[in-house]
Symmetry: C2
Subunit: 350 residues, 2 copies
Amino acid sequence: MPTRLTISDIARKAGVSKTTVSRVLNNRPDVEDKTRSHVLNIIEENNYVPSPIAVGYVKNKTHLIGLVSPAEMHSWQIEVFQGVVAGLKDYNYQLLLLPHYPDEAAESSKEFDRILNNGLADGLIVLHPSLVQSYFQKLSNAELPVVAIDDASSLSNLAIPSIGANNYTGALQAVRHLIGLGHRKIAFIGANNNFRFTRDRLDGYKAAHTQAGLVFNPDFVKIYDEDIVNFRFLQEQIGYKSTLALLAQEKPLPSYTAIFAETDEMAIGVMRALNEHGLRIPDDISLVGFDDLPKASYTTPALTTVHQPTREMGKMVVKLLMDMIDGKIIGQKRHELDTEVIIRASTRAI
Amino acid sequence: MPTRLTISDIARKAGVSKTTVSRVLNNRPDVEDKTRSHVLNIIEENNYVPSPIAVGYVKNKTHLIGLVSPAEMHSWQIEVFQGVVAGLKDYNYQLLLLPHYPDEAAESSKEFDRILNNGLADGLIVLHPSLVQSYFQKLSNAELPVVAIDDASSLSNLAIPSIGANNYTGALQAVRHLIGLGHRKIAFIGANNNFRFTRDRLDGYKAAHTQAGLVFNPDFVKIYDEDIVNFRFLQEQIGYKSTLALLAQEKPLPSYTAIFAETDEMAIGVMRALNEHGLRIPDDISLVGFDDLPKASYTTPALTTVHQPTREMGKMVVKLLMDMIDGKIIGQKRHELDTEVIIRASTRAI
DNA sequence: CTGAAAGCGCTTACAG
DNA sequence: CTGAAAGCGCTTACAG
């Protein structure tokens, strides 16, 4: 096939006008059956496919969904991403990647402008929790349908609908599990609460204490306070450093018998720190993570954690965006999906 | 911004013709400096960005790269994928996902036609080892630049350039590592050799024996022969089942002291089978995998394996495709990148 | 039910 | 150095 066939070629071969071919292509009712099947035959014979770029151009609709994410995705983001891809199966849309490269953080506003003005996508999915607020501001002003996944925007009441796990309940369940095992002194390790999910998980931790009639000890809550530029690479270190700080408080042995880490990556850092101090999991200290990353079942011991329905979240975000594009929905709502505690080998009764 | 500005708006505001604006936009030299800077100012002031779809349409170039992959990517594919994204940073191209959904395998030819005729991408990256031959045939006939990653096409001499790890040398190194530790009887577990990489790894295993003056025992080579429809989900099972078959051959104890598994996923299956039979790694049997997946360092014991430079492969595939699109290269070559044995805890001297 | 014409937002010869 | 006109491959009123 040297040069691609156009609608004119098909019209000529079929002996009809381009208009009629276009009608057939778009399944318009106002075409005689005979004409339609004849044109369809010609199309079939010649293996003709209309140029998507021409169609997109004239219809002002590309059938492309832009996915804004860090260039280097974090394990959790990849899971959601795969859910998005799975969700797209049911729609006649394709996914365009709009990665954000962190080294351009300095001029990130410009970089984000480039992404936003890209003009190629009919809608945007934001899978980038640490996206700067000003960008969300711009997004919410844009005419483009946008939906976010576990984002920071919700903290400032921007008009962007979002989807996430029920982080509050998830944390509540996790800590309840520990309490159910007899633990009474449970430490919390997390990052600063610039993120909605970090805040919610801490709240869940506190609520579990309250509901069980326990008072949590603020000394046992380690919030890593430095600014988190690159959340992906810092998490393990946050877990590690926070645990060291926690251990330094009580010598030689800590009084808490369990630790709830805000993410699995942090939990892995916790494991490393405990290991180095000769503390055994779960014999000396029980440990619960959050996220249920694929690697959570490969740690030693396998990590008890809170499962997030990442695939479902990906699928749901697609459906939501599609509804927005179709004008069926004027979003702005927050949707939360249920979590589940996955009990593995890092927790035990005392 | 209610309606988007067009080049005509800018031309009017600047008091020049659309042609001149277009020249400025495209950095053509034949514009007076004064005119250029004036137009540039107007563009800047109005925050004007040319419609990529219109530009793509008229230039017949979308600046989009299509990535053909399974909808559900396998850990190794994700690593390469991230390399592709990283590689794209240096080019003015964006990535369009062209996932293949396996349930449509029945009519996969049609499904692949849809992808191929998509017409939106200026070039294609195929990250889908089990892609059917007929599709590669079509790809090689298409006018579109295509480059594959560790594909099956090379087996049939199709004219598609490809990139992969040096699987032969990688396997050679892995088995040499075992031989260096004193192992003399080393089993091999792999899948059928419909894939170039499976064949090469087996060849490397054999070569290591030959070069060391050892004869390998064909009874110790377990090739899982059933057709592999969904490589992702079967690997762990292949490792598991093949190990069981291997163990059934010699009772109660095997005479080999090490196993080389063709992939890390298979190695994980091997671990499970050995565990169930009360054989300890590495005390009773040493184990080496291949791929160095992220989870390889989280297994118990941490897996000694062959590292593939997946990020580099991703970057390289982008560069190659860009050169092809620019007409700098008429590919067809196979490129291989070096591997490295990562020694962890699953191997030891005997 | 069908077709001629205009137009989407750009670029590219062509002419000056 | 600059602009008028044609054209890329479709769709969409409009007229019949």
